[in-house]
Amino acid sequence: MATVTPSAPATPPRRPPLSAVEIARIRDDFPVLHVRRHGKDLIYLDNAATSQKPRSVIETERHYYEAQNSNVHRGMHYLSEIATSAYEDARMKMQRFLRAPLSCEIIFTRGTTEAINLIAHSYGRPNIREGDEILISAMEHHSNIVPWQMLCEETGAKLRVVPITDSGELIMEEYEKLLSPRVKLVSMAHVSNALGTINPVKEITAMAHQHGIPVLIDGAQAAPHMVLNVQDIGCDFYACSGHKMFGPTGIGVLYGRAEMLNRMPPFMGGGDMILSVTFDKTIYNGLPYKFEAGTPNIAGVIGLGAAVDYLDSIGMDRIAAYEHELTQYGTQLLQSISGLHIVGTAREKAGVLSFTMDTAHAHDIGQILSEQGVAIRAGHHCAQPLMQRFGIAATARASLAFYNSREDLDALSAAIGKVKEVFD
């Protein structure tokens, strides 16, 4: 299919902030938020691990299997045509969501992890050699550490880590110093899953580009929470996961500048990624199919498209503003609890409230909160080097989404009171 260049997105009319009434209505769109625990709706504050799905996403997947199921880009028949059309529509939805210039720059992957591995394989292997360096930050998720370690082991390149402050902010002066001619790729989180820090990705990218270094941004924790614009960021690659942005599990997106992607060899070989195959020579397909070998997760892609539609119907700008206010409210609540320490206090922060308590270990906190009907995550959040940086083994982490309310945070605070009752 030809790539489609969208017309410039029209500026939507300014809408009022999300009100409590609207949030209550939004909660009704999410069946899981009405799971009962101890006679009350369960309070879900583990959104950084995975988000809940609105009914429209669930119904879209069901509809696909009930009325559209077919393989894409293959059949001449009716079902294949509508499945292909729904699949490619979802690509254009993601293109608009990320403000990518071309729909062929949207590659569907299994998730952020696969997207990063794709870059490590298809960009890293051909371009990175012994003595080269790959630059990441001290707040990366294991998925933005381990693929680079594997690449380094294979090539003899070195992994360099930009340090962070005690509040969890990148030290930009150190970053600047590390940008040497040896650096062949910068890969950093847009938002830290364990701290909530929003990194200055535009500045990070501009600084790397001054040295001619390409940049990959791990947007897994940013995509559900803010207006994204990969052209404004200027990055070469941007990765995100469907399940963290209210879409299905097992689907994600890699955005890559066409110029970069065109120069890269395929990630996996198989069907759909070829134009022609003989035993002597195979000619690869063009973008985006070159990077989408095999029958894709069609239901997941279409479901992700429905999630984007849902987010658009609310407006990412309103979501960001609402969550910002909610994060401040939650921060104040937690700060007022004696013996509780918030880990991650960057000035620019998304809705992640990571904390430790003097008298209770993170797992004991998580256990007691669960019994109070409050779901949070306790552990290292797949960021063990970050935990080591702060000299802790684990944190308890409440992470927000737009369907959370002040009442949810009041319940969190009350449940932490129970933890103190047991352990203080």
Binding site: T359, A360, H361, A362, H363, D364, Q367, I368, E371, Q372, A378, G379, H380, M387, A393, A394, K418, V422, F423
Partner: protein, 150 residues
């Protein structure tokens, strides 16, 4: 708090707050590290053996209330015990915490370890309760590599 009240028995909370034999042992005859990479529980178990007898036992490190109190209770039970007595105690402890939650606990046989029966309701916490014990068994076997729950 229902089930959690059973999990966090008073004895457990008390040992968590004031762990017994919670110290390093410079003259230990063996020491071994126990680690649960999933939750970061991390303990060192120290043993001073006199032939087959555990003359002294202590532990250091950090972990959740269940793992820490389990290590603490373990040290109080094993001082002066022989290797085979320790192994038998672990076997019955392990059987208890991995038994079905409906199984009636033989309080007499379980003794002070009966307070950990609550973990049966929370399968992910069984590893917390048994970490120190697994580590101890490795130390008794004369192994010296880190014991991991994973």
């Amino acid at each position: 708090m229902g089930a959690n009240r059973a999990l966090y028995e008073q004895v457990i909370l008390e040992h968590n707050k004031k762990p017994r034999n919670f110290r390093e042992m410079p003259d230990a005859t063996s020491k071994i590290e126990g680690f649960n990479p999933l939750c970061g529980d991390h303990f060192m178990i120290y043993l001073k053996m006199n032939g087959e007898v555990i003359d002294d036992i202590s532990f250091a490190g950090s972990g959740c209330a269940i793992s820490k109190s389990s290590a603490s209770v373990m040290t109080t039970l094993l001082k002066g015990k022989t290797r085979s007595e320790a192994e038998a105690l672990f076997a019955s402890f392990h059987q208890m915490v991995t038994s079905s939650p409906d199984t009636v606990i033989d309080e007499e046989k379980a003794g002070r370890l009966a307070v950990f029966a609550g973990v049966r309701e929370f399968p992910v916490r069984i590893k917390c309760a048994t970490l120190a014990w697994h580590t101890l068994l490795s130390a008794l076997d004369g192994k010296n590599s880190t014991v991991s729950t994973e």
